[in-house]
């Protein structure tokens, strides 16, 4: 007779479930951190790349590639009313392939003539020195879309997704605090790294707070 049979008097049933082992909270912490990280990895890349691009908006245009070239045109007979022949001549000089349309000539102020060629092309003439600037713009293929998402230009449903992402980022940050194993955990080296990251933002907040 086996020792078990001797204790209980019966053999344990093979179908009997083992009592569930209670998992530590750190297990769920890791699960939340890991899967939110996976789920929002794509959008994190979008926000990071767009963030870099938009941070330097003073130095470059993160949305459009703008190309300009200049010529000096001859003064028209009537500066307040560019004739069709003069307009066509300007198009030729600037090597514009589109057809000249007189109804697309605007006089926004006394010193400027603007000719809209298409939604991505225009000519601006400074009537002070008759310098004509031909400007053509084209969208940056991927970055323009990244920026539109980052800055929530589309609004609507994206607002909800962006809100969910913001909450997920908070959860990733909070759960990240407790990822360090060991006796000290966040109260050791991990805490020092966390505090170090807060120093500059806190100084700036104090400097700019009213």
């Amino acid at each position: 007779m086996s020792p078990i049979a001797a204790d209980s008097g019966t053999e344990p049933s093979p179908k009997a479930k083992k009592p569930k082992k209670r998992r530590p909270w750190t297990y769920y912490n890791i699960i939340i951190h890991r899967y939110l990280g996976y789920l929002f990895l794509g959008i994190t890349v979008v926000y990071a790349i767009s963030g870099l691009a938009v941070n330097h908006i003073e130095d470059w245009n993160p949305n459009y590639i703008v190309e300009k070239h200049h010529i000096t045109m001859s003064k028209p007979a009537d500066p307040a009313n560019l004739s069709e022949a003069e307009g066509k001549q300007l198009f030729e000089q600037l090597q514009v392939k589109e057809v000249y349309n007189p109804s697309n000539v605007f006089y926004p102020d006394e010193s400027t003539i603007e000719i809209l060629i298409s939604e991505s092309e225009k000519i601006r003439v400074d009537t002070g020195n008759w310098r004509a600037e031909h400007e053509s713009t084209r969208r940056r293929p991927v970055l323009r879309l990244f920026n539109a998402l980052h800055l929530n230009e589309t609004k609507k449903a994206w607002t909800f997704y962006a809100d969910a992402y913001a909450i997920a980022l908070l959860l990733i940050a909070i759960t990240g605090l407790f990822m360090k194993k060991g006796k000290k955990g966040i109260f050791g080296e991990a805490g020092l790294w966390t505090l170090a990251g807060m120093v500059i933002p806190v100084i700036l907040i104090l400097m700019y707070s009213p």
Partner: protein
């Protein structure tokens, strides 16, 4: 789980879809019944100061970096109305140029001191490669700006 993720993505796209239509609306849809003619507004701006009005015109220029301003002209193509929003409040696309625009909002007035006008024109002249004579600026510059609550870009 896979089904849930796919359904969530499809739902997001469906709700987002109206944003990709030919007509683009920024802010609230302009609903005022009457339209103030652009010429009238540019010729008599003080008459319409700080009143809620609706205006129609053609966009001639758009802020290329932030989409935070737009210049709109009337049918006679003379003069221009500066439409300005806070960064990010509305982001006007470059593709608005040449399109018909319906605006609703208020016209505001501000005065730029002479020394600031001189600085601005000096910088503009340098950029344009021409000489600038500060004595041509006689005094402060009055500026009118349209602050929209709604902008509809058509076509």
């Amino acid at each position: 789980m896979k089904k849930f993720l796919l359904s969530a993505a499809a739902l997001l796209l469906m709700v987002q879809a109206p944003a990709i239509s030919a007509e683009k609306l920024f802010g609230q849809r302009p609903t005022l019944p009457g339209v103030v003619r652009m010429n009238e507004l540019l010729e008599h701006p003080d008459k319409y100061l700080n009143k809620d009005i609706k205006v129609e015109g053609i966009a001639t220029d758009v802020c290329p970096k932030r989409g935070c301003w737009m210049k709109v002209s009337g049918k006679d193509r003379k003069g221009t109305l500066m439409v300005k929003v806070q960064d990010g409040e509305m982001v006007f696309p470059m593709s608005a140029r040449g399109k018909n625009i319906i605006l609703q909002g208020k016209l505001t007035k501000s005065v730029m001191p002479r020394h600031d006008v001189i600085e601005l024109e000096q910088a503009r002249a340098e950029k344009a490669g021409r000489k600038f004579d500060p004595s041509t600026i006689k005094g402060d510059r009055v500026m009118y700006m349209f602050k929209p609550t709604g902008v509809l870009i058509q076509g």
